[in-house]
Each structure stands twice: as structure tokens, then as C-alpha cells.
């Protein structure tokens, strides 16, 4: 069981407000990418976020672009778990490939406020928040294996190199 501070958002949050498209071909370092996280949704997020915090959102989090920086900007800002009522399909896959755990759990974003805390028990697939227990469905074993490897890059490094070299994906393009 781990305890996390939460940042709470609503439904249908899109990738343009998570990481503006105008930066996608120019910003490359993790620090620069993290500095623009949620810039057009919550301009105070970057100054408040602490390592280990989690995002708690409504339905369809991350709709829109395929740009991976919409995941990595949060990862580089210290977020390792995202909880939403549902995720856009592309965003969900991008989370897994970056080693970020996407938890599908409806109902939390209307119960919690930014600054509250919750507890996550990843072994037993449950969340304790506001005195209530929420169960979530675990990922399939083959998909969980990508998260456990730290993401798709380290998983493929094991296949092609035989070891993980600690590579931090350079920022990029989508």
C-alpha cells in the first residue's frame, strides 16, 4: 500500500492542453518537456507537483493527438500512476509503453479534490480514498510485463541488446 497526493481533473482532457502541439518538434530534454506539463489546463501544476503524486481524472483522459510527450511530460514531472474513469486508446497504450501505470477506476475524480491523498494497493488491485475502497481490473499479464520492464524501450533493449542501458527517451515528436 502506498500513499499519494492527487491532482484532480475532469472529463475529456485532451492532449493539446496536456502538452501543446507547438512544442512537439523543438523541446527535447526531460526538464524542458516537464516544464510545459498541463500548461493550458492547469498552469500552476508544474510548480505544485511532487514526485509520487498521481493524477485523478474523469473519462476519456488524453483524447486527441498520438504525441507521447502528453505522457512523458507527466512522467518527467514525477507522476508514475494515472487514474481515470477511462483513457483514450492511444494515450492508454502510450502510458504502458512509457512504464506509467494507467488505472481505470471511475468515480474518484468527483469524490476527491486536488491536494487530497489516497492509498493504492497494486498487489490487490484496490484504491482506498475518502474512506471507501475501490477495486480495479488488473492489466493482462502480457501488458503488465511491459510496465514491469519499465516500458517498451527497456523491454526491447533486453531483446536487442541483452541488457537495459538506462536510456531516457529523448523528447520528441508527434
Amino acid at each position: 500500500m502506498t500513499t499519494h497526493r492527487v491532482h484532480v481533473y475532469g472529463d475529456h482532457v485532451n492532449t493539446d492542453v496536456i502538452f501543446p502541439g507547438k512544442y512537439t518538434y523543438t523541446l527535447k530534454t526531460p526538464e524542458d518537456i516537464a516544464a510545459h506539463a498541463l500548461e493550458d489546463l492547469d498552469p500552476t501544476f508544474v510548480s505544485r507537483v511532487q514526485p509520487g503524486d498521481v493524477i485523478v481524472a474523469g473519462s476519456n483522459w488524453g483524447m486527441g493527438s498520438s504525441r507521447e510527450q502528453a505522457v512523458t511530460c507527466l512522467k518527467y514531472a514525477g507522476i508514475n500512476i494515472l487514474i481515470a474513469a477511462s483513457f483514450s486508446g492511444l494515450y492508454f497504450r502510450n502510458c504502458i509503453n512509457q512504464g506509467i501505470l494507467p488505472i481505470v477506476c471511475p468515480g474518484l475524480n468527483t469524490l476527491l479534490q486536488t491536494g487530497d491523498t489516497l492509498e493504492i494497493d497494486v498487489t490487490n488491485n484496490r484504491i482506498i480514498a475518502a474512506g471507501q475502497t475501490f477495486n480495479f481490473t488488473p492489466l493482462s499479464p502480457s501488458v503488465q510485463a511491459i510496465i514491469d520492464a519499465g516500458g517498451l524501450v527497456p523491454m526491447l533493449q533486453m531483446r536487442f541488446l541483452g541488457y537495459v542501458d538506462g536510456y531516457v527517451p529523448a523528447g520528441g515528436k508527434e
Binding site: N14, P20, T26, E39, S65, L156, D165, P169, K173
Partner: protein, 418 residues
Amino acid sequence: MNTGYTFVEKALARAAGVESARAGAILDMRPDLIFSHDNTAAIRRIFEAIGATRMSRPERVAITLDHAVPAPTTQHAQNHAEIREWVRLQGIAHFFEVGRGICHQVISEEALILPGETIFGSDSHTPHFGWLGAFGMGVGRTEMAALWATGALWIRVPESMQIELNGHLRPGVTAKDIALKIIGDRTVGGGQYRSIEFSGNTLPTLSLDERAVLPNMMAEFGAMNAYLPPDQAVFDYLEAKRTRDYTPIYPDADAVYADRYELDVASLEAQIALPHQPDHVVNLSEAVGQPVQQAFIGTCTNGRLEDIEAAAQVLRGQRVRCRLIVIPASSQVLLAATQSGAIATLIEAGASISTPGCGPCMGNHMGIPAPNEATISSANRNFKGRMGTADAPIYLASPYVVAASAIKGAITDPAEFL
């Protein structure tokens, strides 16, 4: 005999090399074509980091420079230079330079993907290829690096939603209005993680240019892919350029759909999406009179010949009152619209014509609005900040509506100019 399969169940079973598959199955798929665009240099860095050296099938890889072309800054130019070097190093078969056009349009024109086939692109509008009866899905750049290296990717076969369209559209009402109506009625999450499979007697009445609008815009519906049943018009379009045989795929008559939506398009009015979300859709009449400072016609959604000609039809003999930017989706479109006289008509009306590509759609360049300036656009997304400026509202509509609004500098019903 097995029956009851949707298009996507059949197409993904084919791409995975298995006899059959149902929604929920997780398959390893080998696509017929994979593509990327200006994001190729970043994908290259991931590919090199994972220790891969040669692409598994460079003959089935396409790369198009389209998102920021011609390069607006030194950084963008450097990005393009790295991509050109990569194309040479890997012997990538299909490379399209600055000015050739937008990935989805160019790959369609070149017949690089065919009915029944499977295509992955590192671009969220890849469902576009449903216009010709292919499975198209967007992926992230790490997945594209994995595809380059291994040629395969896991997919969970999605549930399907059937959208049945019946009736003839009225003049001046287009496939864009159908797409906006669907998204407005069922919200931006209405097709989340689904295969959107179109049917109904409207489809054969739509030109190929219009058909492409429907699966393209289903990206804004949350769809994984979208599909229109291909007919002879599609086969004829592909015939001149195709380099391999193909077998079209159709859903079974008793296919099982998780959801259904039906629309009689005969009574449909022109639609418009208000800021800042593509499902903030109303009848155009409810938005008429709102001032706009910029109008934009182009993108993978509505930058084809018919779109440019629709604008020319509205603008013939008129003069724009706000700036109008027209960016054809490809060099072929630009050439055809030049030969037809549409480009001359637009220039005479005061339009500005730019290099084929994505233009200002995602705020890189070529038409970024000033704060508090409103844009009416034929594109697909109007999220806050989408065109590069957070406090600049964006309206989405058909090229007819965009052109008419440019004449008045305010949102306008095109009927009076048709």
C-alpha cells in the same frame, strides 16, 4: 461456416495470420504498411537506443514531411535533415519531401495501402484509411520504433459500433456536417476504443474526397479505427498505381455491434463546432454572426480538390473581409485545383495559398492566431491552444461555411452564395 464477424475482427485476424478473432482477443499483428512524418527523427533515436540496427521491412515503410513544412526554424530544418539521412541509411522505400502533402492524403494517392489491409501511423488521424476499406490506427512513437525493429505490434481487437447513414445530403451540406453531427450527438467519447463501421445508402452517393472525411474525423470520436465498405469507385481510384493484389473485407450481415447510431442525412443542416471541443456542435444557424479574424481551409480532413472547389464556388466574384489561408492537402490537389481554375478564383477573392502540408492546424506555423482572434477552420480539432495560442477560439465547419464566413468576417451560412 463462421458468421457474425465485424470488419475489424476479420481485418485483424488477417493481419495476425490467424483464422478468426473476436473482440477482446489480443493479437500480434504484422501490418502491410507503417508510416511516420516529422516525428521520424525522434523515433530514430528510440530505435537506436533499443539496440536495433536495420529496419525489419524498409520496403513497407513510408515517411512524409508534412507537419512543419517548409521548415519554419533552424530546429525544424535540422529535424528534417536528420530524417532525410535516416531515409538514406535505412533504404526506406517511400519518402515524400516537403510540399508533396499530408501523410494520409499522399499515401492514399500513391495507393500504398489497399482495401482489407492494415496500416499503422504515428499520427492520431490514421483511422483516415478506412475510406478505402483498410484498418488504420494511430500509435505512439515508441510503438513505431518497435514496429520498425520487429515488424509487429500487439492489439486488443476492439468492439465495433455501426453508424448507418441514409438519404441524400442537401446541396451545401457535406460529409463534414455528418461527422460533426455524429460527434455532437454522442460526444468526443462516443466511439472510444471502438471500430466505427459505416453503412447505409448515403455512402455510395458521396464522392471519394467526401468519404475520407468520415473516418478521418472519427479520431475526434475516440475511435481506434473506422471503416467504409469499399466499392467500384474506390477500386478504380487505386487501380492505376497499386503494386499488389488485394481482397476487400466486408462485415457479415449478422455482425455483432456493441452500439449503433442512425442518421437520416436528408434533413441535416450545416453544422459547426464551437470552441473548445469538437463535440460542442450546434446547427450553423445558431452561430451565424459571430465575428472571425481568420479563416483556414485545408488539412487531412478537408484539404482535397472538392474542398478547394467548394470554397471557389462560394468565393467566385466575392472579396474576403478577413484573412483566408488555403493549404491544399497535397501537390496533386494543388495542381488539379490550379488547372481547374479554383486557385485563381480564390486568389482573386483575396485568399493566401501556401505549401501543401498540415499548415497551422496544430500551431506550428503558417497562420497562428493572435490572442483573442477567432479562427474558423475546416480542420478537425479546436482544443484550447490547438493553433498555437491559448486564448484564440477555433470554430470547425465545412469548406463552404469557412469560405462564406471569410467573405463577411463573421460566421455565415453559405446558402446565399450558392
